[in-house]
Symmetry: C2
Subunit: 224 residues, 2 copies
């Protein structure tokens, strides 16, 4: 019997890479899906490709999304990335409906290739406060995709796995290390320099660095 | 006060054109959104552009979707379009999660441009049996988009209008005629000839022709 396929949303970051390693450890054949949506930290696209190769993905696809769709975000527009530390509320790095769109692509692709499992590395504990990372969004998305698809209507719906949802950043890192993930190839920074070095002070860097510290490990990526 | 903006999903067909005319008649400023997803009937892209201009849209955008995402459909792959008449069940012209993906784009764009209304011309009476045209899908999508977005979380959610949902095809046509829609610029056929003439026998043509007949009107488009 051939292995079951899973579409894994990959940003080349710490969380999605760990989610991909977890999908692989469950025996899935990995179909890695990355989005080029005009993000300023587009070096993550290269990280995602390296990660997919490293974790033995059967296929890695980078989908181009017309970036004019997304406006008002520090990740896609000429708005400074906050560097003062993680604050309550939804930050200006929020990209409108990003995970809704990413998961919709994943559902379309999954149904097309006969996959019934999608993995997404959202995390609702050590996270940036984005609404589309919360468990209630993921559950609603699962239900909507069941209603939207032929396979869902015919009783063979797509499952959306968010295995990191209840984990702290340090637990995620420990899990990844245990599964053999090489975090040196991942990229998390929202505002890297032209050589790809991380800033160390954006929300994403802060959450990552604190996670490594809490895990008692050294973050292997380069910082400015 | 400037008019409220609405994103209108437009395929250049009869239904979405009528939905756009209805949005306009309610006083919305129209942001027309069309998708090039590798459909064999890509002459609908030109129809959508004409419709947007004719109905005075403020902006008309055609978003390109990587067509490799969609597999197994007669609209995007080398599979014959059925011509034997509308049958029960989901036909082979079903495109995986198409309206899920289209509405996700619409939600992202709407939030980006400050629109809080989306119009989609889905119809669940004289329709092709696609799961993502049913009211329960639309309602679930509305709820998911509320959970996914900053504006939704902050109490200013996006509304998804499906004004044709309970109308027969002939009622839709009568409504459009009453609103001044020129249906000669619309395109519905799944399998037109190279000059854009409709086949007259695919499901979409059959539903359209029966609608005009029931409305006591002549369909102004050309048939082979």
């Amino acid at each position: 019997m051939s292995p079951r396929r899973a579409v894994v949303l990959s940003s080349g970051g710490l969380d999605s890479t760990t989610a991909m390693a977890m999908a692989r450890s469950e025996g899935f054949e990995i179909y890695s899906l990355t989005f080029n949506y005009g993000q300023r930290h587009d070096c993550e696209l290269y990280a995602a490709r390296k990660v997919a190769a490293s974790l033995g993905a059967a296929l890695h696809v980078t989908v181009k999304i017309d970036s004019s769709i997304f406006q008002g975000s520090a990740l896609t527009n000429d708005i400074p990335v906050p560097k003062e530390g993680v604050k309550p509320g939804i930050p200006v790095t929020y990209v409108p409906a990003r995970n809704l769109l990413f998961l919709s692509y994943a559902v379309a692709w999954a149904e097309s290739i006969g996959a019934r499992d999608i993995f997404i590395g959202v995390n609702a504990i050590d996270y940036s406060g984005y609404p589309d990372c919360r468990p209630e969004f993921i559950e609603s998305m699962r239900r909507t995709s069941e209603l939207a698809t032929k396979c869902g209507v015919e009783g063979d719906p797509i499952r959306i796995h968010a295995p990191l949802s209840g984990m702290t950043k340090s637990e995620i890192i420990r899990k990844g290390v245990q599964l053999g993930v090489d975090y040196s190839m991942t990229h998390s920074c929202y505002d890297p320099d032209p050589t790809g070095r991380s800033c160390g002070v954006c929300d994403s860097c802060r959450l990552r660095l604190r996670g490594f510290e809490d895990a008692g490990l050294k973050d292997p990526v380069s910082y400015m």
